[in-house]
Amino acid sequence: MFQYILEAKKIEFSYLDGTKAIKDLSLKIPQGKKIAVVGNNGAGKTTLFLHFNGVHRPQKGEILFKGEKLSYNKTQLKTLRKNIGIVFQDPDNQLFSASVYQDISFGPVNLGWPENKIRAKIEKVMKQTGTWDLRDKPTHSLSHGQKKRVAIAGILVMEPEIIILDEPTAGLDPIYTGQIMKLLDDFNKNGTTIVLSSHNIDEIYAWADYVFVINAGEIIAQGLPEEVFRNENILKKANLIKPWVLEIFDELMGNTEIAEYTKIPRTREEIINIIRNLHSTCN
C-alpha cells in the first residue's frame, strides 16, 4: 500500500469558452513513484497538471495534497508551489530572463533561501543538467533542447517533492532524452515523485512505474505499464500504439513456449536478451 502524495477527487473543469477540459476525473499519485500520464493532444493533460499546483481551481471536486484538501489560501498555495514543480512544454513560456543564471535563480530566491545555499544549489543543478557551460550565454541564442534543459534546471533547483513535466523530451534528440530520463531517475531515487506526460510510448513503457491514460478529460485506464499497454481496447480508444518491446514479446509468446520467461521485458536490452536466450535453447 503506497502513501498518496497527491489526489484528485471527481474534479471537473471547463474553460471560459465552454470547452470541458476535465470531466469527473479522479486519480491518486503514490509517493516516490515514477508516474506517466499518456493521452493524445488535447486530452487534458496540461489542464490537469495546472490543477495540481493550484493555478487552475476545479469547478467541482477537490484536490488533496498529502491528504489535506486544498483551500487555495495564500500560505497554502505557497507551500504547494514550493513542493510541486512544473516544467512546461514550451520553454519559451517559462524562461523570462535573457540570462540563464538569473532564470534558474528565480525559484530559489522566491523560496527565501540564503544566497550561499542558492548559489551552491544552482551550480550543482546546472552541472547535473549540462547547462553550466551555458551560464554566460543569452537565452535567445540557445537551441530548443538547451532551453528545455535550462527550464528543467529551473525547477529541479527548487528541490520540489513532486516534479511534474509536460512532455519533457518532446523536441530533444535521443542522447539528451536519455540523459534527462536518467537525471529524473536519480532524483526519483532520492525520494522525489516524478509525474510526466509524453507521446513517446516506448520511452514511457520502459520508464514508468504506473501509467494513467487520459482521454477527452477522463481517466480511461490506469495500472502497471505492461497491463495498460496490452489492453487493445484502451490503446485504440486513446489513439495509442503498443510499445514495440511489448509487441515483439507478445509475438514471441504466441509462437514459442517461453512461458517460463514470466518477467515481461521493459527495455530494449531485456527483449534482446530474451531473443538471444531463445537462440541458444533452439540450438
Binding site: 499546483n53 530559489p108 527548487m158
Partner: protein
Amino acid sequence: MLYVDEFVYTNKLRNSHPLERFIFAFVTLIIGILTNNPLINLIIVTIMLSFLIYWAKIPSFVVVRLMLIPMGFLVLGVVTIAISISFSPNDMLAYIPVGTYYLGITFKSLNLAISTMLRALSSISCLYFLALTTPMIELIYVLEILKMPNIVTELMILVYRFIFIFIETAFNIYTAQSSRWGYCNFKRSIYSLGILFANLWGKAFLKSKALFISLLSRGYENKLQVLNPKYRFSKVYIITFGIIDLLLIIMAFI
C-alpha cells in the same frame, strides 16, 4: 540590432565586473562633454574605438558601421552651425552672395562646428564602448547596484527577453507566409502583413498569459527577484581605466 547583440556576448572585455566599464564610459563621457579642447575629444574617440577593436575584439567593420549611423544627423546639424549669414563678406573664408546678404563660413563658426562634431563623436564612442562590451543583462545589473527602482529593472528584464521572442515569432510567421507565396505581389504583401500583425498580437497575449502561469508555478509574488552570477573586479581593468581618465582630466582641465 540582433546581429550586433551576438558580438556583445562574445566580446573579450566581458569577463570582469560590468560596473568598471560603466563608470569608465560615464566618466570619459563627462570629460568629453565638459572639455573645450577638441584634441581631447579626438583622443577619446581614438581610445574608445581602439579598445573596442583591439581589446574587446569586435570586428572593425561592425564598429565603423555603427559609427556611421549617427553621421548623417551629425553632419546636417554641424553644417547649419558652420554656415552663417552676414551683411559683409569681410571675415568669411568662403561665401555665396544671396541678394544683399552673404551666406558663408567664418573662422569662428568653422571652429565651433568642428568642436561640436568632435564632442558629439566622443560621446557616441563612449556610449558604444558601453553598449558593445556590456550585455543588456549586465547593464540592468549595474542599474540595480545604482538603486534604480525595481519596477524599471524588472520591466527591462522582461522587455529585453521578449523582444527576441517577438522577432522570432514574427520571422517564423513571415517565413511560413512567404513559402506559400504570401508576398508574391504588392496586394498580397499588404494582406499577408496584416495577418502577420494580427497574429502577433494574439500570440503575444497568449505568451504573456503562459509566462504568468509558469512564474506563478515557481512562486512568483509580484516581485521578479533573481540572483546574478558573481562578477569579479579586475585590478588590470580598474588601473587601466583609472590612469586613462586621470590623464584625460589632467590634459583637459589643468
